[in-house]
């Protein structure tokens, strides 16, 4: 009763859960132009994920697995369904997620092993895979209700059906580590358990045995996605879109969202996007604001590019940005290989390359 009353007063006064606020990009998250200024390695058709074994970089592009050779992508394998996640296995070969509904080992000791369910529930939106040092695989199933391509539907429905799954290539076993996640998107084995990105709650959660996780990094100003280990310690965490007050407001208005989802083309929703479009039908393109008495055209930002370097403890050490006026948005994967950081901008369908030493040098200057 008291909780319901508090909910009502919070909504009335704009407080608590109803406070439409967004954490600032400051401190180690202070915006820069590093991602925007990164070298473009290649343009791709339908890129989804990156993987590296420390010597080579592989790209999941539609149905194909590409290998970066001499700065150019070369086809390694073609699969029978679009790849939604890719991981390089320590003993050779890959693990791939096919259309989000199956995970298959390609090459290596367990070639051909396939999973399509865990604990009796079928996979629906497998969006990230990661090999662990003890020979297992971690997979995140973003949503039980919406397929991988409909991630924005899941956001608008405030989905909480994501799962963290452990796969055992040795015996074909699969088990759920955590359920009820608000869009699980990326996981990585760490010294103190498994870290998983919970995108719609803007946080990283650590699971170590129990079903309840502990928060590693909370209240991010963006929606976190895949997580990979960084050479020299720590991790690379990508964020595929930034939070805005407009979207936070929409997420607190269920009737508005319901009607928007029923009546409007998803491309034109007031919702985050991986990249900017050019259509005038995009929401609020005709908006304007008055600054110093002058009327100026303005549209709310929908896409952003962000990669964060985390310490082994989960603090943000520094970050790379492609700001709202940039191009390299919708960043979904980052891996480092031989001193270079490779970043996948899904919004712009580009593979980007940055020198890690240059990044750290420029941020210290």
């Amino acid at each position: 009763m008291i909780a319901a009353l508090k909910d009502f007063t919070d909504r009335f006064f704009g407080r608590g859960e109803a406070a439409i606020t967004v954490p600032p990009f400051d401190g180690a998250l202070k915006p820069n132009q590093l991602l925007e200024a990164a070298a473009v390695v290649c343009e791709l058709e339908s890129p989804e994920d990156l993987a590296s074994d420390g010597a080579s970089v592989w790209i999941a592009d539609g149905h194909r697995i590409l290998r970066l050779e001499g700065g150019r992508p070369a086809e390694v394998a073609v699969l029978d369904a679009p790849i939604t996640a890719l991981a390089a296995l320590p003993g050779g070969g890959f693990a791939v997620a096919l259309d989000g509904r199956a995970v298959r080992i390609v090459g290596g000791a367990h070639d051909g092993r396939t999973w399509d369910a865990a604990d009796g529930r079928p996979f629906n939106a497998i969006n990230a895979l990661s090999a662990t040092p003890d020979g297992k695989l971690l997979a995140t199933d973003g949503s039980q209700n919406r397929p991988y391509a409909q991630w924005s539907h899941d956001l608008m429905e405030l989905g909480r059906s994501g799962r963290l799954i452990e796969l055992m290539p040795a015996d074909g076993g699969a088990r759920e580590i955590a359920t009820g996640l608000s869009y699980a998107f990326g996981a990585c084995a760490t010294a103190d358990g498994v870290w998983v990105s919970e995108s719609w709650r803007h946080r990283l959660v650590s699971f170590n045995g129990g079903k309840a996780g502990t928060t590693v990094l909370d209240r991010l100003p963006a929606y976190p996605s895949r997580l990979t280990p960084a050479a020299g310690g720590g991790y690379w965490l990508t964020a595929f879109i930034a939070r805005t007050q407009l979207v936070e407001f929409i997420l607190r208005e269920p009737s508005y969202r319901k009607r928007m989802m029923a009546e409007i083309d998803p491309r034109h929703w007031v919702a985050p996007a991986l990249g900017a479009s050019t259509t005038f039908l995009e929401p609020m393109q005709g908006a304007h604001i008055k600054t110093m008495g002058i009327l100026k055209p303005w549209a709310p930002p929908r896409s952003y590019g962000l990669v964060m370097r985390l310490t082994p403890q989960g603090l943000v050490r520094y970050s790379l940005h492609s700001r709202i006026d940039g191009q390299n948005h919708g960043v979904v994967a980052a891996v480092d290989c031989a001193g270079a950081l490779f970043v996948l901008s899904k919004g712009r369908r580009r593979l980007l390359r940055l020198d890690v030493a240059d990044i750290e040098g420029s941020l210290q200057a």
């Binding site: 401190g27 603090l315 200057a365």
Partner: protein, 498 residues
């Protein structure tokens, strides 16, 4: 400029047998601007209070226009043509600006409208943008200072003593103030100018007198001084390099986010402001007067409230908090050290020990009503020693301390609460260079201990020499952030103004 308008010979003033000034000779010539500089506790305020009739000499002689004088009250000093603009303003907060200007000069049939018109014309002639009908308590520090200055000018004084007149003024207001001083000089008014901003003393003064430990050290033409020589005379050692001269070459890495302010709103002063503060770092907040810095952090500390509707969020250790009074903020580990120490910082009739003890009591809840005098005394002595608060004993009343020592006491009162987040608002305003160095060292020590430290300052060299990261505030929100390594005075000032 040859006739001394005011002269002090062998001036000595003792409090409880301890000399505040001792055998000081001072000469003020007609139509000169004379800067009086020295560390806190050097005796500047005492010397000028003698001239202004606030205190009387224990021994020695004071001459006005060659005739012996011993004003016993400010009114008597005013009759002699001596007016003083105090460091801590002496206006009546419930009265309007005009009423304050004409306070003590009211006619038998006092007509408010007439006073307002006269005040309006007078303030305009000084180029001061202050409404004569405004109640003083609603004015900011800078505007209060303007009213103080205007009041001194209005009394047609031939000697005006300014005690730290520019401490709360913006650069533009300072320019007006210096023009005003030059104008007074042209009219034959002699000006005594106490300032800790040595550049200002060098810029505006004809002659400079340096005091140290209550004694006269040197008086010379301003042209023969530079910053290093003044500082050396003031402290007896060369501090100029260690204070502000060194540029940071390394910064502390950020720890966990301790404070997150998200889209905060507070009336017209704070507009959708967002910022973070991290453990183990000093976050400097720079901005001009009215940029909403103080108000933002007062909301954080529960001193003032944010907007009732959609006021934004304040998160401490990632948990939303909403303090309506400071006590729960103190208990949660937030210490706000005010910019206005005299009004909000301490109880001036209480001892150092009691003031510090009150700080500790503020952290406690439900411990019963027992107050231990012995514990208070011990606490006072411990902190007086730890922060080098110079006083005869810990029982000395706060009002009898110099500005720097008062500030250290206010800091002690907050640090005794063992805070996690320490917010310093103008920590060295009205504080001498020796105490500034000590306060800066203390602030750095807190950050090194892993505390989250915020330093709000209008003095750019201070922000640059202390901060690991610098937030620039303008018109109620943070508009720019710099690492101390990339910041420059030009960049920061540009962001603060444009």
């Amino acid at each position: 400029m040859s006739t001394p308008v005011l002269e002090l010979r062998q001036a000595t003033k003792k409090y409880a047998g301890v000399p505040a000034i001792e055998d000081v000779d001072f000469t003020l010539l007609n139509g000169e601007v004379h800067a009086l500089v020295g560390e806190n506790g050097a005796g500047k305020s005492t010397l000028t209070k003698v001239m202004a009739g606030v205190v009387t000499l224990t021994s020695g002689q004071m001459l006005v226009d060659g005739r012996e004088a011993a004003p016993r009250t400010p009114n008597e000093a005013r009759d002699l043509g001596i007016a003083m603009v105090f460091q801590e303003n002496s206006l009546v907060p419930t009265m309007t600006v005009a009423q304050n200007l004409f306070l003590g000069q009211e006619k038998f049939f006092n007509r408010l409208r007439g006073i307002y018109i006269a005040a309006q014309q007078f303030l305009q002639s000084l180029n001061f943008d202050v409404a004569p009908t405004a109640t003083v308590s609603l004015l900011g520090a800078a505007k209060k200072q303007m009213v103080e200055i205007a009041r001194a000018v209005l009394h047609n004084a031939k000697v005006i003593i300014f005690d730290e007149p520019t401490a709360s003024l913006t650069p533009e207001e300072k320019k007006y103030f210096f023009d005003l001083v030059r104008d007074l000089k042209k009219r034959g008014v002699s000006v005594i100018f106490i300032s800790h901003a040595l550049e200002e003393a060098l810029l505006i003064a004809d002659r400079i007198t340096v005091l140290r430990d209550g004694k006269h050290v040197v008086t010379d033409d301003a042209a023969k001084f530079d910053r290093a020589r003044i500082v050396q005379a003031m402290v007896g050692r060369d501090l100029s390099q260690t204070l502000y001269g060194q540029r940071k070459t390394t910064v502390r890495p950020p720890g966990k986010r301790v404070l997150s302010v998200q889209n905060l709103r507070m009336a017209s002063m704070v507009k959708n402001n967002s910022l973070s503060v991290f453990a183990g770092q000093i976050t400097g907040v720079f901005g001009l007067v009215g940029a909403g810095r103080t108000e933002t952090f007062k909301v954080v500390a529960g001193v003032i409230k944010r907007d009732f509707f959609h006021g934004g969020e304040v998160l401490l250790h990632d948990k939303p908090v909403r303090y309506r009074v400071p006590a729960p903020a103190v208990r949660d580990g937030i210490a706000y050290i005010t910019e206005d120490r005299k009004v909000e910082g301490f109880f001036e009739t209480m001892s150092i020990a009691r003031n510090v003890y009150i700080g500790q009591l503020a952290k406690l809840r439900g411990k019963g009503g027992l107050i231990s005098n012995a514990a208070a005394k011990l606490l006072g002595e411990t902190w007086a020693k730890a922060l080098n608060i110079r006083a005869i004993s810990a029982d000395v009343k706060a009002v009898e301390l110099s500005g720097g020592n008062q500030q250290k006491m206010v800091i002690a009162k907050s640090l005794v609460q063992e805070p996690e987040l320490v917010i310093f608002d103008e920590p060295t305003r009205g504080v001498d260079v020796g105490a500034i160095a000590e306060i800066h060292r203390l602030i750095n020590d807190l950050a090194d201990q892993g505390k989250a430290v915020v330093v709000i300052s209008s003095y750019l060299p201070e922000v640059m020499s202390l901060s690991d990261r610098i937030l620039v505030s303008r018109q109620g929100k943070v508009v720019e952030e710099y690492s101390a390594l990339e910041a420059s005075e030009e960049k920061i000032m540009y962001a603060a103004i444009h």
